[in-house]
C-alpha cells in the first residue's frame, strides 16, 4: 500500500508559496543592498560633500556641481566623450552590421573562420589592445605610420598620440578594431533569426537585394539593433581604459583624450576628492539616462512598439 501524505492546510501551503520567491531572491537582494544600493545612495550623499583624504568631509551643498559645470576640463571631457560616442554609433555599428550581413552569406567560403577572426580582438581585453596600439601608433617606428607612409606617403613621424587633433581618431580606430567584431556577433544572431519565408515572399514580389535589406532585414533585426545601439552608447559614455593606457596614464596632449570617466577617476582616485568624483558620477549617470531615453523614444521602443 502506498504512502499517502497527510493533507496540509491550504492556508499554510499558500503562504509558503507566496514567501518562496522572496526567500530565493533574498540572498541577492541582501548582497545588492549592501554592495550595490548602499554605495549608490552613499555616493549621492557624498556628491554634496568636499572630501579631503581618508577622513575629512565638509558639506558644500551644490558647489561640487557648480564647479563641475564651470570647469573647462569637464567641458572638454564631455565633448571628447560625445565625439567618441558619435563615431561609435555612426561608424562602428554600420560597419558591424555590414560585416554581419557579409558573414551571413552562405556562398562565402571560410565564413566560420572569418567570424572568429573578426570577433577575436575582443578576447584580448582593452588594456592589452591599448598597449598594442600605443606601440603601433608610435611615430617613426610604429607599424601604422610605416604602412601609411608606404601606401599614401603620410609623414612617418606623424604623432598620433601626441598631436591633439589625432588623438581621438587614434582612439576611435583602436575601438573599431576592438568592438566591430563584437557587435557583429549580435547582428549575426539577429540576422539568422529573421524568417526566411519573408525573403522568399519578397523575392516573389520582385524585390531586389537593397529592397529586401530595407524592408525585411532591418525590421527583422530592429529589437537587436536597438539593444546594440543603446549598449554601445552607454559603453561609449563609459570609455576609460583604452585612452588611459594608450596615452600612458594621462589624458593626452591638451586633454585631447580626456573622457568623463577619466575625469571622474582623476578627481576621485588621483587627487583624492571622492565627493567631487561622486558628483561627476551622478552627472554622468543622469546624462546616460537621458540619452538612452531619447534613443528609445526615437527608435520607438519607448512604448514597447517592437513587441
Amino acid at each position: 500500500m502506498s504512502h499517502v501524505p497527510a493533507p496540509r492546510s491550504n492556508r499554510g501551503y499558500s503562504s509558503q508559496h507566496r514567501a518562496a520567491p522572496y526567500l530565493f531572491v533574498s540572498p541577492f537582494l541582501l548582497l545588492f543592498a549592501v554592495f550595490g544600493l548602499w554605495p549608490i545612495l552613499h555616493s549621492l550623499i557624498m556628491a554634496f560633500y568636499a572630501t579631503n583624504g581618508p577622513k575629512s568631509q565638509v558639506f558644500v551643498g551644490w558647489k561640487n556641481f557648480q564647479f563641475l559645470f564651470a570647469d573647462p576640463d569637464f567641458h572638454t571631457a564631455v565633448w571628447n566623450t560625445l565625439v567618441y560616442t558619435f563615431w561609435s554609433v555612426f561608424l562602428q555599428l554600420p560597419l558591424a552590421l555590414g560585416l554581419a550581413v557579409l558573414l551571413n552569406q552562405k556562398w562565402l567560403k571560410g565564413r566560420d573562420f572569418l567570424r572568429l577572426a573578426f570577433f577575436s580582438p575582443n578576447l584580448l581585453g582593452q588594456v592589452f589592445v591599448a598597449i598594442l596600439f600605443s606601440v603601433l601608433f608610435a611615430p617613426t617606428y610604429g607599424l601604422i605610420n610605416k604602412a601609411l607612409h608606404f601606401l599614401f606617403g603620410v609623414a612617418v613621424d606623424t604623432k598620433w598620440l601626441s598631436e591633439p587633433a589625432l588623438v581621438m581618431p587614434a582612439i576611435v580606430l583602436t575601438s573599431l578594431w576592438l568592438y566591430v567584431g563584437f557587435n557583429m556577433i549580435y547582428f549575426l544572431a539577429a540576422l539568422q533569426a529573421v524568417d526566411t519565408e519573408l525573403y522568399e515572399a519578397a523575392e516573389a514580389d520582385g524585390a531586389n537585394a537593397w529592397q529586401k535589406f530595407w524592408a525585411v532585414t532591418l525590421p527583422g533585426i530592429r529589437p537587436v539593433a536597438v539593444f546594440v545601439l543603446v549598449t554601445a552608447t552607454i559603453g561609449s559614455f563609459q570609455l576609460f581604459e583604452l585612452p588611459y593606457i594608450m596615452l600612458n596614464n594621462t589624458a593626452g596632449p591638451n586633454n585631447s583624450g580626456l573622457t568623463v570617466v577619466m575625469y571622474l577617476y582623476n578627481n576621485g582616485f588621483i587627487t583624492g576628492d571622492l565627493g567631487y568624483a561622486s558628483a561627476v558620477g551622478w552627472t554622468l549617470a543622469v546624462g546616460v539616462l537621458i540619452v538612452s531615453l531619447i534613443q528609445m523614444r526615437v527608435t520607438g521602443t519607448w512604448k514597447g512598439s517592437d513587441k
Partner: protein, 454 residues
C-alpha cells in the same frame, strides 16, 4: 521531495549554499600575522629588500615583515581606501613623487601619515649627525606640507644628458665645450637633420621634459608655501625658451617617447643624439640598448646661464610611515635598516644606478667604478657630483592637475608658435601669449585649491 515542496533543483541550491557557507565559516582566512607590513611599487627596491630582510628579522627575534609589491597605479588608491576603512593599512609604504602629495589633503590632524620631523632631527647613534644632515635636503621639499615632513626621500635623481658619444666624435663636436644651453642649441642646429636626426628628445605635448628644465631655472608649480607659481616670470621665460626647441622651422628636438622599444631604436639608429637622463634612466639605457655599449656618454645638463645649475631632477620615491602602525618605532627601525644598511648599498646601486640620498654613502667604492656601457665613465661619481645641487620640487595635493595644466599650456604655446611664427630675437606677441596662457593654467590650479574648504 517529501519535506521540501519546491523541487530538487531548489533543494540542491539550498544544500550547496548551506555547505559552502558552512565551509567558509569554518575556514576563515588566516589572520594577518606579520608584525610589520611594507608596500613598495618598485620591483628593484622590492628585490633588494627581500635579500636583506632575513637579517632584520634575525636582529629582531619574533618580528616578521610582510613585504608587498603593489602596482604603482593602484598604490595610492589602495592606500587611501585602506586608510578610509582602517583596514590592512601598511606600516610603511613607498609612493611615487607625483602621487605623494595627494596623501597630504585635509586638516593636518586627519592626514594618515606620521610627521617625521622629530625622528629626522634626532642625533644619530654615537654622536653621528642627524639623518636630516646626512640627506640631500632639497629632496624633502616634495614631501613637506604645512611644515610637516611626511616622507623620506628614497633617492635624489640628479639629471644629466645621455648622448651618442661616437656620433658627436665623428662630427668633430667636443661635448666638453658645451657648457650652456646656448652652446647646446648652436651644436644642435649643426647636428639636426629634420626627419632623420635630432639633437635631443624633448616632448612638445606634455610636461615630461619642460618640468625638469623649469626646476633647473628655479621655477616650478608651487613655492615652499604651496602657492601656485606656474605663471611667474621664470615660468614664462622658460616656456618662451623651450617652445622653439620643439616647434617651428629651427627645432632641434623631437619626441618619440621613453621607456620602450621605440626609445631603444631611436638611440641605436642615431635618430636621437641626446636624452635627458636621471640616474634611474641610465639603467634603462644599459638594459634596453645593449647595442650601443661603449658608444654612450653622460654630460651635465647645460646651464641656463654661465656658471648656473648644471642639473635638475626627474622622478622620485617617498617612504612614508602611517599613523595606523601599531608599532611606529619598530617600523621606523625597519625603514632605517633598509635606508642605512651599508652592506646592500653597493649592489643596489649596481643593479639600479639610483644614487641614494645619504651623502656619506657616495664615498663607497661602488660609486667610483668605471662603466663599460658609458665608455669607462664613472657613472656614480658623475651623478654624485651634481646631486647636492638638485633643485627642490615643491608639491601640493593638486600636483597632478598642475602637471596636466603645464602640459596643456605647452601644447597651446607650441600650436601658437607653429601658426604665428616667432622671431628669434624675441617676439613680444608670443611672449604675451605665453604669459596669458600660463596665467590661465595657474588660475585653474588656484581655483581647484580654493575649492578645498580647508
Amino acid at each position: 521531495m517529501k519535506y521540501f515542496p519546491y523541487g530538487k533543483a531548489a533543494f540542491s541550491i539550498l544544500v550547496l549554499a548551506v555547505l559552502s557557507g558552512g565551509w567558509l565559516l569554518s575556514n576563515p582566512p588566516p589572520e594577518h600575522k606579520a608584525t610589520l607590513t611594507y608596500w613598495t611599487f618598485a620591483k628593484p627596491h622590492y628585490e633588494s629588500y627581500v635579500q636583506i630582510l632575513p637579517k632584520f628579522e634575525r636582529e629582531h627575534p619574533g618580528v616578521t615583515v610582510d613585504l608587498e609589491l603593489v602596482s604603482n597605479n593602484a598604490l595610492t588608491a589602495r592606500l587611501q581606501s585602506a586608510m578610509l576603512a582602517n583596514l590592512d593599512v601598511p606600516d610603511l609604504f613607498e609612493v611615487e613623487i607625483g602621487s605623494a602629495a595627494t596623501l597630504f589633503r585635509g586638516p593636518t590632524n586627519d592626514i594618515g601619515l606620521v610627521d617625521l620631523n622629530p625622528r629626522l632631527h634626532a642625533p644619530g647613534p654615537d654622536g653621528a649627525p642627524s639623518l636630516w644632515d646626512r640627506v640631500v635636503q632639497a629632496r624633502f621639499a616634495s614631501y613637506t606640507d604645512r611644515g610637516h615632513i611626511y616622507g623620506l626621500p628614497h633617492d635624489v635623481h640628479p639629471l644629466q644628458l645621455a648622448y651618442r658619444r661616437d656620433i658627436f666624435a665623428k662630427a668633430g663636436v667636443d661635448v666638453t665645450k658645451i657648457k650652456t644651453w646656448d652652446d647646446f642649441i648652436k651644436v644642435g642646429h649643426k647636428m639636426t637633420i629634420p626627419g632623420k636626426q635630432y639633437m635631443i628628445e624633448l616632448s612638445d605635448s606634455d610636461s615630461t621634459s619642460i618640468e625638469p628644465l623649469l626646476f633647473q631655472r628655479g621655477g616650478g608649480y608651487f613655492d615652499a608655501n604651496g602657492q601656485v607659481i606656474l605663471d611667474n616670470e621664470t615660468a614664462v621665460q622658460t616656456m618662451c625658451w623651450y617652445v622653439p626647441l620643439v616647434a617651428g622651422p629651427h627645432k632641434i628636438a623631437n619626441s618619440v617617447g621613453f621607456f620602450n622599444q621605440v626609445e631603444a631604436n631611436a638611440i641605436e639608429d642615431g635618430y636621437m643624439l641626446c636624452y635627458m637622463c636621471p640616474d634611474w634612466n641610465s639603467k634603462n639605457f644599459e638594459n634596453n640598448d645593449a647595442h650601443v655599449t661603449g658608444k654612450m656618454g653622460l654630460m651635465p645638463l647645460p646651464t641656463a646661464v654661465p656658471g648656473g645649475r648644471a642639473t635638475s631632477t626627474w622622478g622620485g620615491t617617498m617612504i612614508g610611515l602611517t599613523k595606523h602602525s601599531s608599532n611606529p618605532d619598530l617600523a621606523w627601525q625597519l625603514a632605517m635598516f633598509f635606508y642605512l644598511d651599508k652592506s646592500t648599498v653597493p649592489d643596489r646601486f649596481r643593479t639600479t644606478n639610483i644614487l641614494p640620498p645619504v651623502k656619506d654613502f657616495w664615498t663607497l667604492p661602488a660609486f667610483h667604478e668605471k662603466r663599460a656601457y658609458w665608455d669607462g665613465q664613472r657613472l656614480g661619481d658623475s651623478y654624485a657630483r651634481l646631486a647636492p645641487d638638485v633643485p627642490p620640487h615643491y608639491s601640493s595635493p593638486v600636483i597632478q592637475t598642475a602637471t596636466d595644466k603645464l602640459g596643456q599650456a605647452l601644447v597651446d604655446c607650441v600650436g601658437y608658435y607653429n601658426s604665428h611664427g616667432y622671431d628669434e630675437r624675441g617676439d613680444a606677441r608670443f611672449e604675451a601669449y605665453v604669459r596669458a596662457r600660463l596665467k590661465a593654467s595657474a588660475d585653474q590650479i588656484r581655483a581647484m585649491i580654493k575649492r578645498n574648504p580647508y
